[in-house]
């Protein structure tokens, strides 16, 4: 069973209220930081902890913070990315809903470390009820002297506001988020300049995921070294995983990084195995953007190593035979699921969410969606499979922001590992329509390891 650094108290009755949260040790990190630590001390602890961004890219948080420009007389900001819109990902919602004060506490210590006196939480528009939970918690924090002027007599002034988006996945991309926060259309900006130099209102800005900011609380409380003891290699600490799909126990799990994928899927403390005694067919381990893995590459890598829940192990083999930890949106598919249908579904999402700024993504996502629609609906041609491959290759790497890549990768991985199933849809159009699911052959399961 993994340790719980973030969700330990999540089940306590009333933990979403200030009094209960405080009684259970809440806001200790702020007391400690303001009384006995300098901003640089906190940065040092975060660096030691090895914490990596939990929003998807896994960039080391301490390094990101140390890049923040600090010109004299220019305010700096911390922006919390709570736009969480990646299909398969719902961990931040859980955290904010259950223990909103943990995020607020993390915002205060992190902003203190960065020298920000005004910070923001940007929350996805569909999370309106979570916004209300956060607003209530923020008010409680103000009422109890954790926000506002001269916090706990420390001389540190800090204001926190939460702002909803209007329902766009792209506003989770950090520069689009900044545009949106400024009141503009949420188009990603070109980098450089990076937000650390010119972010919100052209001021130095750090954008971090909800979970990243929450993880700073135990790091300050217990020290970075203590945090780094959990995990393997460069994957330290705990990670929230949103597990969904054909498993017995979907939900949000806090795991120690380094847990084996096999235990995560089949262990009773976690997903509890595949539902209805079916077989595992495939897994998307890190949210819809990351490559899908066929069952024989889920629990073992191509090299035959155990696949672990770490940044490194999940990406072992590169895109040929690996995937990514991404945002921790862990989606499991059983033998009845159709990969073509799933790929089409993801393609619909990226087409719908492209901001339309750059031509490869704007036009390419729509084209892929249409070709996949035909394939899934028994109207595909053999050439369509190569065409799809070609379109995704023209998008990948050629766009302003990574949404283009995120649209291309799932298509590429599905064709790479499940080409046969695509071909079956072309060769057996009526059969593929009759059966609501994809190709199931014995051969596919010959190499089953799990």
């Amino acid at each position: 069973m993994s340790r719980k650094l973030l969700l330990e108290n999540a089940h306590i009755e009333g933990i979403n209220t200030y009094d209960v949260y405080r009684k259970n040790g809440g806001y200790r990190s702020v007391e400690k930081a303001l009384k006995s630590m300098s901003p640089d001390d906190i940065l040092e602890e975060v660096k030691k902890s090895g914490l990596r961004g939990r929003g998807g890219a896994g960039f080391p948080t301490g390094m990101k913070w140390s890049f923040l420009a600090k010109p004299d007389g220019v305010p700096r900001h911390l922006v919390c990315n709570a736009d969480e819109s990646e299909p398969g990902t719902f961990k931040d919602r859980y955290l904010m809903e259950k223990i909103p004060h943990l995020l607020i506490e993390g915002m205060i210590v992190s902003s203190f470390a960065l020298g920000a006196n005004q910070s923001y939480i940007y929350i996805r528009g569909e999370y309106m009820y979570v916004l209300q939970i956060l607003e209530k918690a923020i008010k409680e924090a103000y009422d109890n002297g954790w926000l506002g002027k001269n916090i706990q007599g420390s001389g540190f002034d800090f204001d926190l506001a939460v702002t909803p988006g209007a329902g766009a996945y792209i506003c989770g991309e950090e520069t689009a988020l900044i545009e949106s926060l400024e009141g503009n259309r949420g188009n990603p900006r070109m980098k450089p300049p990076f937000p650390a130099v010119k972010g919100l209102w052209q001021r130095p800005t750090v954008v971090n995921n909800v979970e990243t900011i929450a993880a700073v609380v135990p790091i300050v409380n217990d020290g970075g070294d203590e945090y780094a003891k959990i995990g393997i290699g460069r994957s330290t600490g705990t990670k929230l995983i949103s597990a969904s799909g054909n498993i017995n126990k979907p939900g949000v799990y806090e795991i120690d990084l380094g847990l084996s994928v096999e235990e995560f899927i089949y262990g009773d403390d976690y997903c509890g195995g595949i539902k209805n005694g079916k077989k595992l067919k495939a897994c998307v381990p890190g949210g819809s953007s990351v490559p899908i893995l066929p069952h024989y590459l889920v629990c073992k890598t191509a090299e035959g190593n155990d696949r672990l829940m770490t940044y490194e192990s999940l990406s072992e083999g590169g895109f040929e035979t690996g995937s990514m930890l991404g945002s921790g949106g862990f989606i499991v598919y059983d033998e009845d699921q159709c990969i073509v249908r799933n790929t089409w579904n993801f393609a619909r999402f990226y087409h719908h969410e492209s901001c339309g700024q750059c031509s490869p993504c704007r036009e390419g996502t729509g084209w892929m969606k249409k070709v996949l629609h035909n394939l899934e609906h028994g109207k595909g041609k053999q050439e369509d499979i190569d065409l799809l491959w070609d379109i995704q290759s023209k998008i990948e790497g050629n766009t302003i922001c990574p949404l283009g890549d995120a649209a291309a990768w799932p298509v590429a991985a599905a064709i790479r590992h499940f080409r046969e199933e695509f071909e079956w849809h072309v060769k057996e159009p009526s059969l593929s329509q009759e059966k609501n699911y994809g190709l199931v052959t014995e051969k596919q399961f010959e190499t089953e390891t799990a």
Partner: protein
Amino acid sequence: MADENKIKVTIDGKSVEVDPGTTILDAARQVGGDVVPPAMCYYSSLEGSGGKCRTCLVQVTKGSERDPRPMPKLVPSCSTAVMDGMEVSNKTSDRVLEARKGVVELLLINHPLDCPVCDQAGECHLQDLAFEHGVSQSRYDFKRREFDKVDIGEYIKLHMTRCILCYRCVYTANQLTENREHGVLKRGDAAEIGTFIEKNLKNDFIGNVIDVCPVGALTDKTFRFRSRVWYTKPMDAHRNCEKCSGKSVLWMVGDEVTRVTARKDEYGEVKEFICNDCRFDSKDVSKWTIEGPRKIKRHSVISANHYSKEIPKHTTLLNKA
């Protein structure tokens, strides 16, 4: 002798010394000729433009003298600054040509390809681009995106179906006029140019959106369908104007001024924007001092004289429509 403050960049084997901060595209333009990547969205006088169309992607094979590592991804030359000692491949890189071919194909999948009835034909950057880099057959067999035509005020027609969302008109409207009335609505391939919402744009300089538009999405209603551009003769001319420099190009058929535009350089860029009075309300040749015929360098279609002199029938038909 090398200027101390200049930095050296080599593009397709040709070296040039430029000021620090220059983009790869501008450096390539200083070299001129073949090494210049095509640019559909960048417009040097419009702040913030560029980076969107991706036709100008190039490969940086050497980052700089100090850090010679190549850049892993292709970069948009219009918005990437040169470094001292940088080496860039444009036409000499197969990867660039392949990516560009892809961009052109993608730009065309939703384009109506209605060149025979489009006012921009003959001076359209998309036509040029497709001609130079495209593939002759489209692999796209779905219905193309369509929008209704909209009047933007008295003089300008928006034919959104042809738009490539380069955002140049948005920057022009934002930077040359006072109120933010012109922008992009919706997203992805449903995105469209909106005038919040179909409000007439009245500003004295709004006519310039026509000149910056690389395709036939924004056209001059006082000129639409009066003639094909290649039957008109461009003449440099000027007039005394209180609002702008008055330096324009008159597109003449005989003694008649069919259209007035600003002067564009060989990359299709206007350096001096003109006002609506000159553009729309000065069609009387006596109002102008004619300087002489204008040489149009860039546009393959006009200059290479690809078309016959006979007026095609559908053009006449459209005149009545």
